[in-house]
Each structure stands twice: as C-alpha cells, then as structure tokens.
Symmetry: C2
Subunit: 227 residues, 2 copies
DNA sequence: GAGATGGTTCGACTACGGTCGAAGTATGAA
DNA sequence: TTCATACTTCGACCGTAGTCGAACCATCTC
C-alpha cells in the first residue's frame, strides 16, 4: 500500500491550474522570469513566487539568478516528457482547454516541445532520420549512426560541443498530438536552433507555435522527406 | 496562455494521496473492486467511490460491472506510462515514500508495470530482444521483426489473438528505476503471463514484486542473454 | 546616497475539496 | 419475501492550500 515513490506530491504540484500554466509556458524551452510566469498564469507576482518555490522544491524547475532577475526553466527532459504525456491523456479524454480552433491546428503542425521540434513536422523529421539510417535504436537507447554523424555535421551542427554536455545526445519524446515519437535531447535542440539560424522557421514568442517560411518548408522537405 | 490540453485537471486527479494510492495499486495490472481499492488507499468505501467516479470521468480508469461488484483497471497503457513517468520524477527528486528498504531492491529487480515485466529484468529482456533483432524501431513505432515472430511463436505465444485486439502489439515503456525502455503492449503482457504459466516467475499479490524461481531465472537468462 | 525595479515573506481571508455518517439503490442468496 | 452484500448519493464538517495586500529585501541606475 505504500511502496514506490510518492507520485501524489509532484502530481499535486502539476495539478494546480496556475502552476500548470507556468509549466506549460516553460515547455517552450525558454527560461522565464517570475513576473513573466505570473502573467502567463494570470496571478499576482507574490503567488507566482510561492508557486515557483514549491515547484523548485519538488525538483521540477531549474532556477538561475541573473542580476535582479530570476530565471526559471524546466529541470530536465524527463519533466518535459511527463508533461507531454499528461497532455496526451488530457487531449485523449477530450478535455481540451480551448475548443479545437485555428491555433490548435498550428500547434499540431509544428510546435516547440521544451526545446526541440514537435508536432507533425517533428515526427516526420524523426521518421525520416530513422528511415535514412541516421538514427537507430540500440538496446532501448537512441543512437546517432555513422551516416547520422555525417548528416548532422553537414548540417553545421558541432557534435563535440553537444557531446560535452551532460544531457543525452539523442532521446525520443512521445508527441501528444501525433502519438508518435520525435527527436529530443541536445541534438533535437540543436536541430531546432539550426532551423532558426537558417531562418527556415521562427518560434512564436507566446504560443509555442513554430512557423516555417515557405522556402524553409521546402528546404525541410528536401532534407527530411520520407522515402 | 491557454493553448493546449488541460493538464491541471488530470494532474490534480493523480495528485490526491488517496487516488494516487489507488492508481499505484492498479499498476499491478489487476482489476480491483471498490472496497479493495478503498482499503489500499486507507479510506472508507464512500470516499473511495467518489474518488473512483472522478478518476473514471477523467478517463483514467476502465470500469466493468460484474454482478454486484464493480471492477476498475487502468484505462490503457498511456495512463500507466504517465504514472511510471511520475514515479521516475518522484524517485529522482529523492522523494521516496519509504526509505529504500529491502522491498525496494526487489522492486528494482523485477516488478509488474501495469501488465508487463519491468525493472532490471524487464529492461534486460527488452535490450536482448532488440540486440537479437527480434524487435526494431520503424519510424517511431516499435515492431516485431520476422525473426521476432518466429521467436515468440516458439515461445508458445499466439500472435493472431494478440493482433486481433485493438491495443498495440509492441510498445515501449520507460522504467522509473532503470531509466531505460522495456517492452509493453499486448506482447509484453503475453510474455509475462507466459512466464507465469511456465512457473518461471510469480507475482506477489500485494506489492507488484515479481519473483523468479531459481530455475526460472536460469531459463530466462538463456533466452534473454545479452550478446 | 535616493529612487526604481524585481522578488520574497508575512498574515489574513476564502473557498474548494476530501472526509465520513447515514440513508438509499442494486444485485445476489436463502 | 427477506436478508445480506456491494456500491452510490446526500449532507455536513473541517482542513488545507491558493490568493492577494502590505511590508520587506536585493539589485541596479543615476
């Protein structure tokens, strides 16, 4: 009756509307300040502060002080992963916050998941990389193959920098809208920022939507076509 | 500020201690009655009933009436998956309900996750099946290869029955203790029940622990050795 | 220094939701 | 029919936790 970790505590942390809004906002991958998160959640700064300290104590956030600002971001990919999972359940039970509107289709098309590309285009990219043999599964872990290394370096992504970090290079992340995997981990992050550098795509500042330019979408299709 | 599914609602459902206990109990994969779940959660039958109707309304459970009993089980693998994820976070933040005791090591060794094998032996089995090429990733989906079909039928598992069901044959599930994937889906379930039929292993009724007999462990090692 | 801006702490208010006793409904047994 | 068991509904109680105003720190600017 009481073995295993204490689910209830952190589920309750996520379970408050204000905190859930903050966490959802942080799924954009950006680090946000207390006041930004307060606005995002629709509460005053005081309450936001108290919420954030609780989330931090629960290990869900990573705070960083910078001058008189305090920036919060999600603690790690695992947290983002669980949040996506919860979104999947919520979406499945037909409990959408907003009725499926025009913004919803944009979110399904391409969006930011923590720090990498998700949605239709995210899964397409993942599928393509697998089909081309650039990614492979090795005993439950996702790995970058030799051709994959070539491909990414050709994409102007410096793997040595990524490998130096503690976070895993490749991870898969389950998509709540597509119910399929897409690429997470530091490589997933690198791909997305590369898309931005090449101005193939732009993140919306507020809504997690990623919009590809017309030419950007074409380039993307070129590299990540299926078959 | 309000795009995406309503995380908070279902997170709050999981966030109550009594409900979390019930859900954890259901991770054993067994369907339990209202009174059993009440005892599991340490509350009276009335409150259990109200909790269960809320969980049901949230789409987390699948109720089945049978005579004057009402059996509840987890709605699907997705729910189990999210619960495992939450356990991972809770374990990671050092928030174990019970200090890592003797039962904890048993849980890490081999346990039931919803309806399939998890823990050290679960991930070992998954890794072995991947290494032997019986399982493979195909565009984000886990599939059974041709040799995999051979292997499982040689194991006296009737695939045609499994394929007839709506639930996916193969799925991967992230392990909170090992932080690696193991095999879920109807095939994962089939393997576990086969182990029981062969009396290689036995589930403990209360604690989710799976104990392998000495000879059973040897057989297991034979079939699912790494390399 | 003084003033402004970003966060935190404290205290008081409030409301939502978990809890159980008691009564009510269904199903099964005798 | 009568009794027992399994569960649900109702109502009342109570505690916890979210909320904000006000005052308090800390950091930067001038």
């Amino acid at each position: 009756m009481k073995e295993g970790p204490d689910i209830a505590h952190i589920a309750a942390l996520i379970g408050d509307p204000a905190r859930a809004n903050m966490l959802t906002a942080l799924m954009s991958g950006k680090a946000l300040t207390v006041s930004e998160l307060a606005e995002e959640a629709g509460v005053t700064i005081q309450t936001a502060s108290s919420h954030l300290s609780k989330l931090d104590a629960g290990g869900l956030l990573r705070p960083r002080k910078q001058g008189r600002h305090k920036y919060f971001s999600l603690a790690n990919d695992d947290v983002a992963h669980v949040l996506e999972g919860l979104m999947g359940l919520a979406a499945g039970s037909g409990h959408l916050r907003t009725r499926t509107g025009p913004k919803d289709t944009e979110l399904r098309k391409a969006r930011v998941c923590y720090n990498h590309l998700a949605g239709d285009m995210g899964t397409q990219m993942f599928d393509s990389l697998m089909a081309q043999g650039h990614l492979a599964m090795d005993g439950g872990d996702l790995i970058l193959t030799e051709t994959g290394v070539e491909f990414t370096t050709g994409f102007q992504i410096d793997l040595s920098i990524l490998r130096a970090k503690r976070t895993p290079l490749c991870r898969e992340c389950l998509d709540w809208s597509e119910r399929r995997s897409h690429l997470a981990g530091s490589l997933g992050r690198a791909f997305l920022s590369r898309f931005e550098e090449l101005s193939w795509a732009k993140r919306d500042q507020k809504t997690r939507v990623v919009t590809f330019s017309q030419s950007g979408a074409k380039e993307f299709e070129q590299f990540f076509a299926m078959r």
